[in-house]
């Protein structure tokens, strides 16, 4: 543990140091500065500025205007309304319920994904090789499945009349599931979408955490064992602290992914559920803009979404820095 930490500190130390000091040999022997790196950087960064930077600027810009279909087609003058779109949102109970939905839904997905992924990663360390391979192959299959087709299959499995799940439930005597619609009730619809999301995203956690466990040196564990530490004790006092950086990364990635879910909700609840009961921020913003033609309001939602994720990202960067990652 300490050896690893100090080794890490050492590498990050040399990597961060400026090349002017005599001690840091690595950077100094690299190519001298000049125009060359900028030539290599230019194409990628031009694309990034045009397709990420400028749109973000425009998103904020549009959110400050009353921007509807009439303004798009040029029939009405564009009016700067300042924060009016945001005020409208804050005053709208639907916005708060959508925000609540998003946090609950994303939170549930994150917790379940992490729970399933890490449990299976621990389980995977104690399996026979062929069983482990089988588990990993099917997990990769679920991981690789596109959101659209995954949603389609899960919808089919839970179809009210033709779906396998209802048939099985009825056949074991639960007759109330005859023709039961899983997408009718708000929470069962969210549950159905969350199952699909967990199904296709736990493999990332499984693979990453498993790799992390494998990277823990056997000697450390052996030493602890010789000192008389029990397995739960080893898990708590050695494996968990050593896995912490990986678990943090995986958690933040999951938060970001699950906050942004669009396809699954859109497809499985047919655009946000009955009377918009299953709307999450992303889908809500999309509907406001492209279905209701309230581009200004939709952009304001986009800004809120981006701001929330940026806060999470900042926390992420902080943690990365604290764990001694070198950029």
């Amino acid at each position: 543990m300490t050896a690893l930490a100090s080794a890490k500190a050492k590498t990050s130390g040399t990597r961060n140091r400026k090349p002017t000091t005599a001690g840091s040999s690595r950077r100094r022997s690299l190519r001298k500065r000049g125009l060359e790196p900028w030539l290599y950087l230019a194409p990628a960064f031009i694309v990034l500025i045009a397709l990420l930077g400028y749109p973000i600027f425009q998103l904020i810009n549009v959110s400050l205007y009353d921007y509807r279909q009439a303004q798009v087609s040029g029939k009405a003058p564009l009016q700067f309304t300042g924060l009016e779109n945001y005020q409208k949102l804050v005053a709208d109970p639907e916005f708060w319920s959508v925000l609540g939905n998003t946090v609950l839904f994303a939170g549930a997905c994150v917790v379940l994904t992490l729970l399933v992924g890490t449990s299976l990663a621990v389980l995977a360390t104690r399996l026979r090789p062929w069983v482990r391979t089988a588990l990993f192959v099917v997990s990769l299959g679920a991981w690789a499945t596109p959101a659209v087709t995954g949603s389609a299959v899960w919808l089919f499995l839970f179809d009210p009349t033709l779906g396998l799940v209802n048939k099985v439930l009825v056949s074991v005597g639960l007759t109330q599931f005859n023709g039961y619609s899983w997408t009718y009730d708000k929470w069962s619809a969210f549950g159905l979408v969350a199952s699909e999301v967990v199904w296709c995203s736990f493999p990332f956690v499984l693979v990453t955490v498993y790799a992390g466990i494998q990277a823990i040196s056997t000697e450390v564990i052996e030493a602890a064992r010789l000192d008389g530490a029990s397995m739960p004790r080893i898990a708590r006092s050695i494996m968990l602290p050593m896995l912490r950086p990986i678990v943090i990364v995986v958690t933040i990635q999951s938060i970001i992914w699950n906050f942004k879910i669009f396809s699954q909700i859109y497809i499985m609840t047919n655009g946000g559920g009955i009377a918009g009961q299953n709307l999450v921020l992303n889908v809500y913003g999309y509907q406001q803009a492209f279905a209701a033609s309230l581009y200004g309001l939709g952009s304001a939602l986009g800004v809120i979404m981006t701001a929330l994720l940026m806060i999470i990202t900042l926390v992420y960067l902080r943690i990365l820095k604290r764990t001694g990652e070198a950029l």
Binding site: L41, L48, I56, Y286, G298
Partner: protein
Amino acid sequence: MTAVEVSLRKNRPAEAPQKFRNGGRRRWGADAAALAIALLVAFPLFWMVLSALKPKTALDAGDAAPFTMEPSFDSFMRVLSVNNFGRYFLNSVIVAVVVVIISTVLAFLASVALTRYEFKMRTKLLIVVLVSQMVPVEALTIPLFFLLRNAGEAIPLVGLNQLGSLVLVHVGFSIPFAIWMLRGFVAAVPVDLEEAARLDGASGFRFVRSVLFPLVAPGVVACSVFSFISTWNDFLFAKTFIISAQENQTLPMALLTFFKPDQNDWGAIMAGSVIMTIPVLIFFIAVQRKLVSGLAGAVKG
């Protein structure tokens, strides 16, 4: 989850001489639980393939048998002939391949600059890359929609309703992660090699192209998978940007056309899903190892 607890408790030090692997004693419980979970995880995919092969009559009758006595390719034929799925498949392939090529080349060059050169803005730019990876691209649909509409007036190829528009936005979205991932692979090439190449007279771009690129190729493949998959799976942008030009639609949207109120053609939906899933599966399994090591590299920095 109980299985994990059980096996954890069982794993007394005396019983487990190796780190975590099974020692002499077999843990049937863990293996059985893992197999059950594997079956559960695989089931939706199995059901997708099976339903695609079942005859339409069986599906409409709500056949729940986990097998079929008369597999037929009717659903596939229906999908490919009636709904022009072949065309959409081709569109998806074109967009994904072009995105992979462009974004990988651009990201590779950028990652070379960011790892093998020392210059003032280096760390700042890396943070920009990291942050832009986190931008919720879905939120940018509105400004991108207007951007592409205007761009289309100047360059029709990248305007709305054109495959070029999808290529453009996905190149933009793929680059940050690709840079982040390739960085690790590029940094792993020893500096000595660069010195040697320079002594041999290969410096500058020559070194990057003829020495560095071949060495980093495995990483390039791994990172291209991510660009490929995110582009291939895209539903939102295809839906938003390809409005009226049906012939330029990609697979995800085409699949949705089978969803009809009341009477979904599940056979066709499943067959279409199989067609859409297979390329990604092949890609994923082919580069599985690289993917894991690449991810670890990307995660650990």
